[in-house]
């Protein structure tokens, strides 16, 4: 993680037009990819749980969601930090940004739902259903906003580095993505260990009662 960060700051030449602010790109983009991946995995784990009822799957879903919401918050915070210096605006309602915002809402809704249901079995059931429906929702949000923008022309923010990225930047991006993925895995594992411990304690408490 640190290595990727260091490399991004010191070894990548600043992109010509945008200067150092562009470096946020290496944090922002992989964060976004991992955030969406985290939600996808949460939904997938939920679906799998519905068929196997293995508590580890539900714990994974819970962990992936908590880690995912952190990454998504990161994306939503770094976006404006990048956007303001470059394009002069904090936020724009394009399909990508809006989808990310709704991903954030879905994560939060998912976690709030989990906190409101005490029965472990019910919690896992409801979470799985909400996560799966949420995964279905994102494409609809994306499409709706896309159609909205084709009808109402608004400021356009294209990807500043364009399709042709110098090899150096691609490498840094991939390295950053790798680093973020490792971070995700590490955080989810830590979170799962906590969840397993907590569930074991609860099990012992109820059987002793």
């Amino acid at each position: 993680m640190i290595a990727a960060f260091v490399r991004a700051i010191f070894f990548t030449p600043p992109e010509r037009l945008q200067g150092y602010a562009q470096k946020i790109f290496y944090l922002h983009v992989p964060s976004a990819w991992i955030a969406f991946l985290a939600f996808g995995l949460t939904a997938f784990a939920g679906a799998y749980w519905l068929f196997l009822k293995d508590p580890r799957l539900d714990r994974f879903a819970e962990s992936s969601a908590e880690v995912g919401v952190v990454f998504t918050t990161g994306v939503l915070l770094t976006g404006p930090l990048w956007g303001k210096p470059i394009w002069g605006i904090w936020w724009v309602w394009d399909a990508r940004l809006t989808s990310t915002l709704f991903l954030w809402f879905l994560f939060l809704g998912y976690l709030v739902l989990r906190s409101a249901v005490e029965d472990r079995d019910a919690r896992a059931r409801y979470s799985a259903v909400v996560a799966m429906l949420g995964a279905l929702l994102i494409p609809f949000i994306h499409l709706s906003v896309y159609l909205f923008r084709t009808q109402h022309p608004m400021p356009v923010v294209a990807n500043p580095t364009g399709v042709q990225m110098p090899m150096v930047m691609v490498t840094t991006l991939l390295l950053s993505l790798f680093a973020f993925t490792l971070t995700y895995i590490a955080l989810v594992r830590a979170r799962m260990a906590f969840a397993t411990e907590r569930d074991a304690l609860l099990d012992r408490a109820t059987t002793e009662a």
Binding site: R120, D199, D203, T206, T207
Partner: protein
């Protein structure tokens, strides 16, 4: 004698807890099991499995030959609980008719009227349920449970909240159902009522039957004493 309820090896876990831990049970037409046991013994869980509301982790059960939890098996079950399961804004007649419709009874107004008359609530049938006393509500609930002439009646603490008259009426009704050929499982804390109604008695503890026997020849007082021993 036809076997109406047949359960083999039922197991149900909640997390690590074995709520039902290997239950075998067979009841024929006209037989009734009174199921006693301390709180948390698994009685309600067992009943819910037999009603098709829960799936067992292991084992299987059939109702009138049809495997649970399929629709065909559930169609032959009548469920009575300590909660009335009624819609209190609707009248008794509407509640029972709703159940009759869900079971697809051909002559639902007729069957509804008969069920209400059997439970002697026909004269208060067109009043919203919330206006009825607890005892009358329980009778409407039972009318709803038997409108489709179920082969198996499952009752979870049906004597709760009933006064002496209500209890006597319930016992009489359950015996009448037995005579008509239904099989019953009655979960209750009321040892005397349970023994009076049933042909068999069981005590459930920690998910298993600690004892299971026929009721003829049982002395209620001694059974009660032994029961207290068993569960303390």
């Amino acid at each position: 004698m036809t076997v109406l309820l047949d359960a083999v090896g039922l197991v149900r876990l909640f997390g690590a807890r074995r709520a039902v831990d290997g239950i075998d049970l067979a009841l024929g037409a006209g037989e009734a099991l009174a199921l006693f046991g301390p709180n948390g013994a698994g009685k309600t869980t067992l009943l819910r499995i037999l009603a098709g509301l829960l799936k067992p982790g292991a084992g299987r059960a059939t109702i009138a030959g049809a495997a649970l939890p399929a629709d065909a098996a559930r169609a032959r079950i009548g469920l009575i609980s300590h909660r009335t399961m009624l819609y209190d804004a609707l009248t008794a007649r509407e509640n029972v008719r709703f159940a009759a419709r869900l079971h697809g009874i051909a002559d639902e107004p007729g069957a509804t009227q008969r069920a209400l008359e059997t439970l002697r609530v026909a004269d208060r049938a067109d009043v919203p349920v919330r206006a009825l006393s607890r005892g009358l509500q329980q009778r409407v609930a039972i009318a709803r449970a038997i409108v489709h002439a179920p082969d198996v009646i499952l009752a979870d603490e049906p004597y709760t909240g009933l006064d002496e008259q209500g209890s006597a009426a319930l016992t009489a009704l359950l015996k009448e159902r037995r005579a008509a050929g239904a099989a019953l499982v009655v979960v209750t804390h009321h040892l005397h009522e349970g023994l009076a109604v049933a042909s068999h008695a069981a005590v459930m503890r920690a998910g298993k039957f600690a004892r299971l026997e026929r009721t003829d020849g049982l002395d209620p007082a001694r059974y009660a004493a032994e029961y207290r021993e068993l569960v303390s």
